[in-house]
């Protein structure tokens, strides 16, 4: 699989290398706007509730001024929380804000691990620098200059924002309908594709259902003749030709049962004793 330049490869302790897709400015801006609406929206709702509740209570006890003073104090605290605490608290606890989870984004360290509370507070305190002079211009410039789209806050905290992959299992392709005895007779035994050819045919076969028969036929007939010539195998239907060749390339010589269920070859050569 070809890596895009927005991928960051991480090697796990299991010596497995996998890549994270780093989120660009567009996605992150949308997530940010969602968060702004959510958190300042809730500040508004909170303010209205506080003012009504305290105003109502004040009307009974006759201490309107004192209580509305308390109300304004609470609203100012809520504004402070919206600006400095909302993002840090969400990311510190869950690794993502509601806006980020709506866009399937997650903040991780540059080594692919979840961030801790210090990282979360640090990267969000540095928003003050990234937001300068207006509309996150500094942050955008910084993201453009770094490989992992990091703004200043990410650089200081050692974090990056990744797009979480959808985890849906891909079903292996199956030849349908199964090969007829006649086809089995004619399909060549050794079909070797290079990686590009194989990927192209596979993509085509996976998209078959979405294409419509005439378009399917048309696409297949542009590519099938080259393979028909190479492998000396031909059917009346180019789509079927590709499917059969692909099946032969992928499954020929492979068993349906896992190795462990097969009788293992004896590791004893004749005349040798088994290890005690």
């Amino acid at each position: 699989m070809e890596s895009l330049d927005t991928d960051v490869a991480i090697e796990a302790p299991e010596h497995i290398v996998f890549s994270y897709r780093v989120a660009g400015p567009g996605r992150r801006a949308i997530a940010y706007l969602i968060d702004l609406v959510l958190c300042y929206g809730s500040v508004c709702v909170f303010s209205v509730i506080v003012l009504f509740a305290l105003g109502g209570a004040g009307a009974f006890s006759g201490a309107v001024e004192g209580l509305s003073g308390l109300g304004i104090g609470l609203i100012l605290l809520a504004l402070f929380a919206a600006q400095w605490i909302y993002f840090a608290a969400w990311e510190g606890v869950t690794g993502r804000t509601p806006g980020k989870s709506a866009l399937r984004l997650r903040v991780v360290t540059t080594t692919g691990r979840p961030i801790n509370f210090t990282d979360a507070v640090l990267r969000n305190t540095l928003r003050a620098a990234d937001a300068l002079p207006n509309a996150y211009v500094v942050g955008l410039a910084c993201m453009a200059l770094t490989r992992r789209f990091q703004r200043l806050g990410d650089l200081v905290a050692g974090t990056m924002v990744i797009i979480e992959a959808k985890t849906t299992a891909a079903m292996p392709l199956r030849l349908w309908p199964p090969a007829t005895p006649d086809e089995l007779m004619n399909v060549p035994e050794h079909v070797a594709f290079d990686a590009d050819e194989r990927a192209a045919i596979e993509l085509f076969l996976r998209r078959r259902g979405a294409l419509g028969p005439p378009r399917e036929w048309e696409l297949a007939s542009t590519i099938a003749p080259a393979f028909e010539e190479r492998f000396g195998f031909r059917t009346p239907n180019p789509v079927r030709t590709l499917a059969l060749l692909y099946d032969a390339a992928v499954n020929a010589g492979r068993s349906e049962a896992p190795p462990s269920s097969r009788v293992p070859d004896s590791y004893r050569s004749p005349g040798e004793e088994p290890p005690a």
Partner: protein
């Protein structure tokens, strides 16, 4: 030649484990580590390692790209979950709470002392304009109007002239507490964050705040309310003014780590210093929360001036000795052992 199973046989045999791991990952994304029961925790590590093995097998057997990609995503997602738990950060210690708070209490003054040069520079950047501002405004009151608008200064001065015998109106304290938190803590955090531009942002905030606070002080004193404003400031000033200097110093350190990274790359130096001075910035923010409470409910109250000054002096001594002495290693004891 190694004989591999067909892709469909491979997938159907392993599918059960994959979907179990997928379920665990999904539960984590909803609830974090709290979503896991003990059997889940026992299960997730072997499942993850099996998926790593499956991924290696799928790549070696050249199975189709979507399958390899799926396994890779599953492994990456689980890797994020498994390798996130750091020692001492688990649920138990967080629930206990006490341990980490005590650790933070000593980590803060230690971090301050290890960056003492930046702190002294920050203090100078704050105190010099403060002294100049207050002296110039005291002898030449019109100077203060260039820095703080006259419309703000005059009512302020009248309030200080009146003194605080009347205390604050009911509810005013709460409003002011909210205002001080929103305004002062915000200034300190910004003062820290903008230090990343080579320390210039912090220097600007320190200079600006020093000059305006000094000018206000000098002007109010020149109008004959000097004793009143000092009585007002002394209580919360120990926390507030110190915290601004500390936040600025943390910002200066951050900026200096970019300007002069030493043997590290600039990014690595920034990151290391960032983790280091974060404690100072958060400590300063906590100090400002305290200062806001004191300023709103104590400094402006009708408590007698002598009490305010006495308590204020004690607070200054406490804050400074906390920063200088708490968390010091006992070097003599260490020496006697070596």
């Amino acid at each position: 030649m190694i004989s591999a199973v067909t892709e469909s046989a491979f997938a159907s045999r392993r599918q059960g484990d994959w979907s179990r791991l997928e379920q665990l990952a999904h539960r984590f994304s909803l609830k974090g580590y709290r979503g896991f029961t003990t059997p889940d925790i026992v299960l997730i590590a072997p499942l993850y390692r099996d998926v790593c093995a499956d991924l290696a097998a799928a790549q070696a057997a050249r199975y189709s790209a979507p399958l390899v990609e799926y396994l890779q995503n599953l492994a990456a997602t689980t890797h994020t979950i498994l390798y996130g738990v750091r020692a001492g950060e688990g649920r138990a210690t967080r629930a206990e709470g006490g341990g980490s708070f005590a650790a933070a209490l000593t980590a803060f003054p230690r971090a301050v002392r290890s960056h003492y040069r930046a702190m002294l520079l920050s203090a100078a950047l704050f105190l010099f304009p403060f002294a100049v501002g207050s002296l110039v405004a005291f002898y030449n009151p019109d100077f203060a109007f260039r820095i703080v608008p006259e419309d703000t200064l005059r009512p302020l001065t009248e309030a200080y002239l009146k003194g605080f015998d009347g205390g604050r109106a009911a509810g005013e304290g709460a409003t002011m507490a909210g205002f001080y938190v929103n305004n002062n803590v915000g200034i300190a955090l910004r003062c820290f964050a903008l230090g990343i531009f080579g320390g210039l942002g912090s220097a600007f905030y320190l200079f600006d705040n020093g000059l305006s606070i000094g000018a206000v002080l000098g002007y109010v004193a020149s109008q004959g309310a000097g004793a009143n404003i000092l009585t007002f400031i002394v209580g919360h000033g120990s926390f507030e003014l110190t915290a601004i200097v500390l936040a600025g110093g943390a910002g200066l350190s951050l900026g200096w780590s970019v300007v002069s990274p030493g043997t590290k790359t600039r990014a690595a130096s920034l990151q290391a210093t960032g983790k280091d001075v974060a404690v100072i910035a958060f400590g300063a923010a906590a100090m400002l929360l305290l200062a806001a409470a004191i300023e709103a409910f104590w400094s402006g109250s009708s408590i007698p001036s002598d009490v305010k000054r006495g308590v204020g002096g004690v607070l200054w001594a406490l804050v400074l000795s906390y920063l200088v002495f708490v968390g010091r290693e006992n070097k003599k004891a260490v020496r006697s052992w070596t």
